[in-house]
């Protein structure tokens, strides 16, 4: 758009044509990201991580639409995780079920209770309102992978948007988490693992995603257990930057991509969790450490600095990972 177009007399009457234009541009931008980054191959089975929130709902809609329009030849599925939070998933699972019907995508729901033996409500009862986001996040990550394995899909896509990624870049800098900083900006991750993940909304502003559902009539739901999550501060900072200069969001992602880590830096090596076989840089993966804490009645185990199970890692390293002097990436938490 040229400078003159932008300065055109402000008008409220052109909203109609602008809307149609916005939808078309939004969808074609996602298409370009998919093509340019070769995210998919024809015939692949793709699971869409569906929370019932705005990002994943828009992703499900946009992907099914683009798959049809541009003949990607993809077999799409919706994959949802039920954390067992009273009232939280009632609405969002309804949304996902509605998406299943609207977009004609098969749905698979995996629950924390099935996977871990604990619902989030039970966990909150045990540890209180603080820190439970740690459990929810760690458990959710594995739940999606396990669900994806059940569906026998080739890839998992998530609705992470540009704001999310910029925020993650900042958080990883604040935490000094070099290993995550290195990979958090990749559009596709885990290509060497069983199920790679990708983020088609990597360059899509959250703002666009919020406006877009006016087309697919979605309502938005916030996490009820996380009104004061640490993430909130970084998020607000991102929004403050966006107000001053919207491109700041994409610039932060670009900076993240361009970070070069000194070759002399010791990086945590990824191994396999001894207990469950999930990818882990430690003897036990984070989920297993947290679960052990819950099951032994010591829920603080695994929150904050490394102690307990993984604290013995210097003594017995049996899964082949090297001894790491720097902060291990799997145990830093907020």
């Amino acid at each position: 758009m040229s400078g003159e177009d932008v300065k055109e007399t402000p008008s409220k009457t052109k909203a109609g044509s602008r809307q149609e234009c916005f939808y078309a541009v939004f969808e074609e931008e996602i298409h370009c990201v998919i093509v340019d980054n070769q995210l998919f191959k024809p015939g692949e089975r793709i699971a869409i991580g569906a929370s019932g929130g705005k990002d994943s709902t828009v992703l499900a809609y946009a992907l099914s639409e683009l798959n049809r329009r541009h003949n990607y030849g993809l077999d799409l599925f919706l994959l949802s995780v039920d954390e067992g939070i009273t009232g939280y998933r009632d609405d969002s699972l309804e949304t996902v079920k509605r998406n299943e019907v609207q977009y004609g995508l098969p749905l698979k729901v995996v629950s924390y209770k099935d996977l871990y033996g604990w619902t989030m409500d039970e966990i909150v009862k045990m540890i209180g309102l603080k820190n439970n986001c740690t459990f929810c996040g760690v458990f959710r990550r594995q739940a999606l992978d396990r669900g994806a394995a059940l569906l026998k899909v080739d890839k998992l896509v998530t609705g992470h948007n540009a704001d999310d990624i910029a925020e993650t870049v900042l958080l990883n800098i604040l935490r000094g988490d070099i290993a995550r900083l290195g990979r958090c900006t990749s559009i596709t991750t885990g290509e060497d693992g069983p199920i790679p993940r990708c983020k088609p909304f990597k360059y899509t502003y959250e703002k666009e995603i919020v406006i877009y559902p006016f087309r697919c009539n979605t309502h938005l739901i916030a996490g009820i257990y996380s009104p004061n999550a640490y993430r909130g501060f970084a998020r607000e900072f991102i929004k403050d930057l966006e107000r001053i200069r919207p491109r700041a969001i994409l610039d932060i992602i670009k900076s993240g991509e361009n970070f070069r880590i000194a070759t002399s830096t010791k990086m945590p090596e990824q191994g396999i969790c001894e207990r469950c076989g999930y990818i882990s840089s430690q003897k036990w993966c984070k989920a297993c450490v947290l679960l052990e804490g819950l099951n032994r009645g010591l829920p603080k185990l695994g929150i904050g600095r490394t102690r307990g199970v993984n604290g013995h890692k210097e003594v017995e390293q049996t899964n082949g990972t090297k001894n790491i002097q720097s902060k291990p990436c799997g145990t830093l938490d907020f």
């Binding site: 008008s11 909203a15 929370s51 919020v210 406006i211 739901i221 998020r235 607000e236 929004k239």
Partner: protein, 98 residues
Amino acid sequence: MQLTLEFGGGLELLCQSVKIHNVDVDQAGEEKLTMRHLLSWVRTNLIKERPEMFMKGDTVRPGVLVLVNDCDWELSGQLDTTLDDKDVVVFISTLHGG
């Protein structure tokens, strides 16, 4: 002046969980009602708690999206956007989980 105001993305919680408000805003002698005026009116008359979740300084908090007749207010002049009778103004917070 008759306006329809809609609050979403959690902002409705600040005005007694009511999403859609049909309101009559006093123009206070001004020739044209502006968004600047409307915001202070909303803050005084509709927001019942935590106004800092809605406003920062004299404008909305960063991360709150404003649509005037389905059009982003950044295209119509933000605080200087003038309003007409029966206009629809939507406020959506994006500061929440995905």
